[in-house]
Amino acid sequence: MAKQNFIGLVVSQGKMAKTVKVRVQRKVYDTRIHKEVIKRKDYLVHDEGNLCKEGDVVRIESIPKISARKAFAVAEIKVNKGQQFALYETLAKEKVIEEEKQKLEIFIKEKQQFESVVTQIEDLRRLDQIVSTYQTQPNADRSQLLSEIDRIKQKWGIQSWPSEEPILSLDINEKEKSIREVNLDLIISKIMSDEYTDDRNKILAASTSTPVGELKKHTIKNIVRKYVLNSKNELPFEV
C-alpha cells in the first residue's frame, strides 16, 4: 500500500528542533448544508536538517511514529517561497548597508561640487576686478595682473574674457533647448484648430485604431501632445 501523502503549508518553524508545523487543507462534503467545506488540520512533521521555512509548500509522508504527535516527515518541498523570502531578507540587509556607504560618498561628492562652483564664481569675480583695474589704472603692475588673469583662465578653461560663451551652465537655460516644449500650448492649439483638420486626422489614424468621430476632445489633445513632444515627428508647419 502506498504511504499516506498530504500537501500542506508550513505555518510554524524554528520553535522545536527538527520539527515543523504543517497545515493541510481538504474539502469535506457537509451533508447538512449539501456543500463542500474546507477543513484544516495541523500536523507536527519531522524535518531532518531543518530545511523548511515558514511559507513553504511541502509534501508530507507518513512514517512510523517517532513521538507523541509526530507521525509524518517532509518528503519534498514543492514551493520554496519561505526559503526564498528568508534569502531576500538577508540579501536586502546587505544591500542596504552597501547603499548607505554609497550615499555617504554621494553626499561628499555633492559637497565638493558645490564648493567648486563657489570657488569658480569667486575666481570669475576676481577676474572682473582685475580686468577693470587693468583698464582704469595705468600705473598698476601690469605683468602681475596678466599672469593672474592667465592663471584663472587656465584653471577654468576660459578662452577670452569677457566672453560670449556660457561659462556657468544654468538649469533654466537647459530647458530652453527644446523649442517645441516651450511653445507646446501654441502648437497644440494650432493643430487642434480647423485649419489643420486633415493633418490632425492623419496623426490620429497613425496612433489609434478607433475612428476619429468616436474620440473625445481631450483624448485627441493628448494624442496630439504626445506626437508633438516626440522630436522625431514632423510638424505640419514651421515653429
Partner: protein, 321 residues
C-alpha cells in the same frame, strides 16, 4: 479572560524590562538547566532523617521549577513582542537619519525648493549684469558690488532652512525620499515610494504627537498613515517580495510589524513611552493582579537561572577535585 490578556499585550510591550535586562545579561549557560536550582547539598555527616528531608525537598522544588519555567515559556509564546517600534521603526535607521540631517543641512539646501548651486550662479549673473549696465568708474562699481552682496545676504537669510516652516521641510524630505526609492525618473506612486513618503510623514507627525498629546485629530491622522503604510507594504509583499524586503530593510521596519495586527492606540503610547512614563491604560484589579503574577513568575524564573548557574559551578568544582 483570554481576550483581556490578548488586549493587554497587543502592542508588544516589554514586561518588566528592568528584570529582563538583569537576567538577560546574566542568563545561565546552556548546560546549567534551571532544575539545578533545586539541588540540595547534603553534607556527608548529616543524619539519615535529615538527608531524607533534603532529598524530598529537592524533588518538590524540581517539580515547582519545571512548572514555573514551562508556564513562563507559554506566556512568552503568547505575547511575542514586536522586533522594532511599529510606528518609527529602528532607532538608528540610516535612511531616516540621513533625511533628517539633509532637512537641517542649510548649507546645501534652501527653502521653498531652491537649489543652492543655481542660486549662487544666478546671483553672480545678476551682479555682472548690473555692472555691465552701469559701466561706471571703479568707485561706482564697488558700490554696486556691495549692494549686490547685501542683496545676496538678505536672500540667504530669507531662504535659510532655519527660517522656513515645517511644511516646507516636510516637502523637501518627501522629495528626497521619493528620489531614493523611485523606479525611474518621475515615479511618484510605486508602492515603495508611497511607503517611503508615508514613513517620512509619520516621522514628522510623531514629532508633533510627542509635543502635543491632546491633539487627538492629528494623532488619528498619524494612526491612519501607519495603517495605510502597512496595507501598501502587504500588497508589495504579494506583488514583489524582493522589493518588499529591500524596502522594509531600508525603512527600518521588520516583517512582523507589517504582517501582524497593530493599532497605534493608548497601549502603544504607554508601552513605547511616547509621552514619558505615564500610565494611559487603566487596569482593573483583576487585570493588575494577572500582570503582577506574570511579573512574579518572571522574577522567579530569573532567580532559578541565577541559582542554577551557581550550583552548576559548585558541581563542576567538585567534579574536578
Amino acid at each position: 479572560m483570554f481576550r483581556l490578556s490578548a488586549r493587554m499585550f497587543s502592542s508588544g510591550r516589554i514586561v518588566a524590562s528592568s528584570i529582563n535586562s538583569s537576567s538577560g545579561a546574566a542568563s545561565a549557560p546552556a548546560k546549567a538547566h534551571p532544575t539545578l536550582a533545586a539541588k540540595q547539598f547534603i553534607s556527608p555527616d548529616a543524619s539519615k532523617s535529615k538527608a531524607k528531608i533534603l532529598r524530598r525537598k529537592e524533588k518538590r522544588l524540581k517539580k515547582q521549577i519545571i512548572r514555573d519555567v514551562n508556564n513562563y515559556k507559554k506566556q512568552q509564546a503568547k505575547n511575542v513582542q514586536f522586533q522594532v517600534d511599529p510606528v518609527l521603526g529602528e532607532v538608528d535607521n540610516g535612511f531616516m537619519n540621513r533625511i533628517k540631517k539633509e532637512v537641517e543641512n542649510h548649507t546645501n539646501h534652501l527653502a521653498y525648493g531652491f537649489d543652492r548651486v543655481e542660486f549662487e550662479k544666478l546671483l553672480y549673473g545678476a551682479e555682472k549684469a548690473a555692472l555691465d549696465k552701469s559701466k561706471g568708474t571703479e568707485v561706482l562699481n564697488e558700490s554696486i558690488r556691495l549692494a549686490e552682496e547685501r542683496k545676496k545676504r538678505a536672500l540667504l537669510t530669507i531662504l535659510n532652512l532655519r527660517n522656513t516652516n515645517k511644511m516646507d521641510k516636510k516637502i523637501l524630505a518627501i522629495k528626497l525620499a521619493r528620489e531614493e526609492f523611485q523606479r525611474q525618473e518621475g515615479d511618484t506612486a510605486s508602492p515603495e515610494v508611497q511607503a517611503a513618503i508615508l514613513t517620512v510623514k509619520i516621522h514628522f507627525g510623531m514629532d508633533h504627537v510627542k509635543e502635543s498629546p491632546k491633539d487627538h485629530t492629528h494623532t488619528e491622522h498619524v494612526r491612519q498613515m501607519v495603517q495605510h503604510r502597512q496595507r501598501i507594504l502587504k500588497y508589495l509583499k504579494r506583488d514583489n517580495p524582493e522589493k518588499y524586503y529591500y524596502t522594509i530593510a531600508k525603512l527600518g521596519l521588520t516583517d512582523d510589524v507589517i504582517t501582524r495586527e497593530f493599532n497605534m492606540g493608548r497601549q502603544y503610547f504607554q508601552d513605547f513611552k511616547v509621552w514619558g512614563d505615564k500610565q494611559l491604560v487603566k487596569l482593573s484589579d483583576k487585570q493588575q493582579s494577572k500582570v503582577n503574577k506574570i511579573h512574579d513568575l518572571q522574577k522567579r524564573v530569573s532567580e532559578y537561572n541565577d541559582l542554577a548557574r551557581k550550583n552548576y559551578d559548585i558541581l563542576q568544582k567538585e567534579q574536578s577535585e
